[in-house]
């Protein structure tokens, strides 16, 4: 269970990205965060694993407070929280295998990992993760030699290596075409259903929200303006989140 209490983030330049946001995420939920560009989705996700330090508010994982953890505790918390990015954020010049192994750094022997030495068990695990997302044959390729969809699968296998309890996915499919979007989200859904991993995912397309989400949070100008089941998002609610002129765009319309 992840609990967010009165979270506020003010950037050094004065931008208020989050304003008093509170919610709870029970284990095994597929929580979708929606909202306009600039509404604070990325800021919210990055506050959860403290890539960004919140200005105010508390975040708890079970009974442990993430927001007050020291650096060692924080690293132990982070390795249980996988993260997937819109721009994939792979180390382009490293191989697919190395990028996947990077997900294991939180568990690895600090000294040996600096020398680039990995236990066979980790390598086997990495190959299994790559196998699971269907790109084991690319293990020796450089990451930048892969297509966007393949790169995002490396991103997923990197997160798998963490044996995570929670996956944070920041617009994981915004740079991909609709067909690929479904295949990537299906991996997340599979992790959510079979491995009981909690998923917190920001998305732009409403049909994807309906298809994959079990619970939805809507952000507007850093404030939580909606929380409920995906089916509850009707036209009125949609306009409240996205503004009066907004038109619903369906990813599937392109298929």
């Amino acid at each position: 269970m992840l609990r967010v209490e009165h979270l506020t983030k003010v950037y050094p330049n004065g931008t208020v990205a989050l304003k008093d946001v509170s919610f709870e995420v029970p284990d095994g939920e597929f929580l979708v965060v929606i909202g306009l560009s600039g509404s604070g989705k990325s800021t919210l996700l990055r506050c959860i694993n403290r890539l960004i330090d919140p200005t105010e508010g508390k975040i708890f994982l079970d009974d442990q407070e993430i927001t007050s953890a020291n650096s060692t505790e924080l690293r132990h918390i982070r390795r249980k929280i996988g993260m997937i990015f819109q721009q994939f954020n792979l180390v382009k010049r490293s191989t697919v295998l190395t990028n996947t192994l990077n997900g294991r750094l939180g568990y690895a022997n600090p000294f040996l990992s600096l020398l680039g030495i990995w236990p066979q068990a980790d390598k086997d695990m990495a190959m299994a993760a790559l196998n699971r997302v269907g790109i084991a044959d690319k293990a020796k390729n450089r990451a930048d030699a892969l297509s966007g969809g393949q790169q995002q699968r490396v991103g997923i296998s990197r997160a798998l290596m963490q044996e995570p309890r929670i996956i944070l996915a920041d617009e994981p499919v915004a740079s991909l075409d609709p067909v690929l979007a479904h295949s990537i989200l299906q991996y997340l859904e599979q992790m959510n259903k079979t491995d009981r991993v909690t998923v917190i995912c920001s998305l732009h397309f409403l049909d994807l929200v309906h298809r994959y989400g079990t619970h939805v949070i809507g952000l507007k100008d850093g404030m939580k303006v909606f929380e409920g089941a995906p089916s509850e998002i009707d036209r009125a609610r949609f306009k409240a989140i996205y503004g009066e002129e907004a038109q619903e765009v369906r990813a599937t319309a392109l298929e």
Binding site: K80, Q87, L90, R93, S113
Partner: protein, 452 residues
């Protein structure tokens, strides 16, 4: 005041001080520009004392007066600028004493230099040689030892008489040398100094005879000229073996190039390592979190820029003065320049780092060192290596030149040969340098391609 009156005042003003009229008409930028144009024209003519260009400066001034009158009606601005340029180029031509025909006029001198250039002194015919010696007493004692010797391979040498006083003539007889090849006699005094040096012929039987005078010079360093001492007569005979060997110059060139390459390699290596800490301090993205860091950033940048702008040749001159001639000052100069140049280039690589992967690796729970090892280093190392190899390339070239000011290496030899007008050696070193640079170019390009 009518526009016409105003224009007349403006023209008069510009006649006194060029641009003043335009100022009066409130065209401030135009006034400043025209004043600078006219003033610089006059200063140039005055400074270089080329009186024939006065007319250009005066014409420019007159145009400024006219413009003051006409403004704001546009006059053709190209005119004074064109005049100014013609004047500048004209004076420039005279100052540099351009004389293109000089290149073709002195054919005789050109051929003195260019003809030996066509025969680079890099190799010589391969030879083998025979050497033997015999000792002789100078000056004579009452009982001189026999001046005769047979060495292991059957060469027999003898001198008659058995001893010699200064200025006397002696006869050297040798047998057992290669028939019909010349031989050289060298006189070695007891302290090893070579004094007399004569050539003689060996006959078809392998024998030879040489009559020569024992010149006073053989004893010049002896503390007591009257004390009998043993001197040595050495005979050397060499014959071509067919094939070629590296000549003395060739040896110097190889040594020089080896020195140059090592200087470049060491300077690049040390420079690259020392450049790394500076590059971190000079990377904006790392140094912008607080004012103190920003000051360090600006300072580092400035120092790197200043050091980089000093030609390594000039640094070499300074280091030669401080630490003396040799490869060391050259290496110091190139190292310093490399630190500055690579520090700047490295810092640009660091500034170009993608923060995304770093964020992603931090998110896995990696510690700081692991983030650097897996997130930062893979992003910068290939570029660092490519830049370093490129720099090595540059450093080989500059360490060649640095020899000219006493920095050692091939450049040092080359400079000596130019002074001695030994153009065959000059040509040989030109060719060797060209080959080395070409090879290096090729391999460094290949290597850099591999890294990407």
């Amino acid at each position: 005041m009518t526009l016409k009156n105003k224009s007349i005042i403006a023209a008069l003003l510009s006649l006194i001080i060029p641009g003043a009229g335009q100022l009066y008409k409130k065209a401030y930028k135009r006034a400043g520009a025209l004043f600078l144009l006219t003033a610089s024209a006059f200063v140039t003519v005055l400074w270089y004392q080329h009186k024939e260009w006065w007319f250009a400066a005066i014409l420019i001034w007159l145009w400024v007066v006219l413009d003051a009158y006409q403004f704001p009606k546009n006059s053709i601005t190209v005119l004074p600028i064109l005049l100014w340029l013609v004047m500048a180029y004209g004076i420039g031509w005279q100052v540099t004493e351009m004389d293109p025909t000089a290149i073709f006029r002195n054919q005789e001198r050109a051929s003195i230099i260019l003809k030996p250039m066509l025969r680079p002194d890099f190799t010589r015919p391969r030879t083998e040689s025979l050497t033997s010696y015999v000792d002789i007493q100078v000056p004579c004692s009452p009982t001189p030892p026999l001046a005769e010797r047979t060495n292991g391979n059957g060469i027999k040498m003898s001198v008659s008489p058995n001893c010699a006083n200064l200025n006397e003539y002696v006869t050297l007889n040798v047998t057992g040398f290669w028939p019909e090849y010349p031989a050289t006699m060298e006189w070695h005094s007891p302290i090893g100094a070579k004094s007399i040096h004569e050539e003689f012929q060996i006959n078809p039987d392998g024998n030879g005879t040489l009559l020569f005078q024992v010149k006073p010079i053989v004893n010049i360093a002896a503390p007591d000229q009257t004390l009998p001492q043993m001197h040595r007569i050495v005979v050397i005979q060499s014959k071509p073996l067919g094939g070629i060997d590296i000549s003395e110059t060739g040896g110097h060139i190889l040594r020089g190039i080896y020195e140059t390459l090592s200087v470049a390699l060491l300077a690049t290596l040390i420079g690259a390592i020392l450049a790394i800490p500076f590059s971190f301090l000079a990377a904006r993205n790392l140094m912008s979190s607080n004012p103190i860091m920003r000051i360090i950033y600006v300072l580092t940048r400035t120092v790197l820029n200043i050091v980089r702008s000093v030609e390594s040749l000039i640094m070499a001159i300074i280091f030669v003065v401080i630490v003396g001639l040799g490869t060391f000052p050259g290496m110091l100069a190139i190292t310093l320049h490399t630190i500055a140049a690579l520090g700047k280039l490295y810092s640009e690589v660091i500034e170009g780092i993608d923060s995304g992967p770093i964020e992603a690796i931090r998110a896995t729970g990696a510690n700081w060192l692991q983030v650097v090892r897996y997130g930062v280093i893979p992003q910068i190392i290939p570029s660092f290596m490519a830049l370093t190899i490129y720099r090595w390339d540059i450093n080989v070239r500059s360490s060649t030149i640095i020899g000219f000011v006493g920095g050692g290496g091939i450049g040092f030899y080359l400079y000596q040969w130019i002074l001695l007008q030994d153009y065959r050696s000059v040509s040989a070193s030109f060719i060797s340098i060209a080959i080395v640079v070409m090879l290096l170019d090729f391999f460094s390009a290949r290597l850099r391609e591999q890294i990407r």
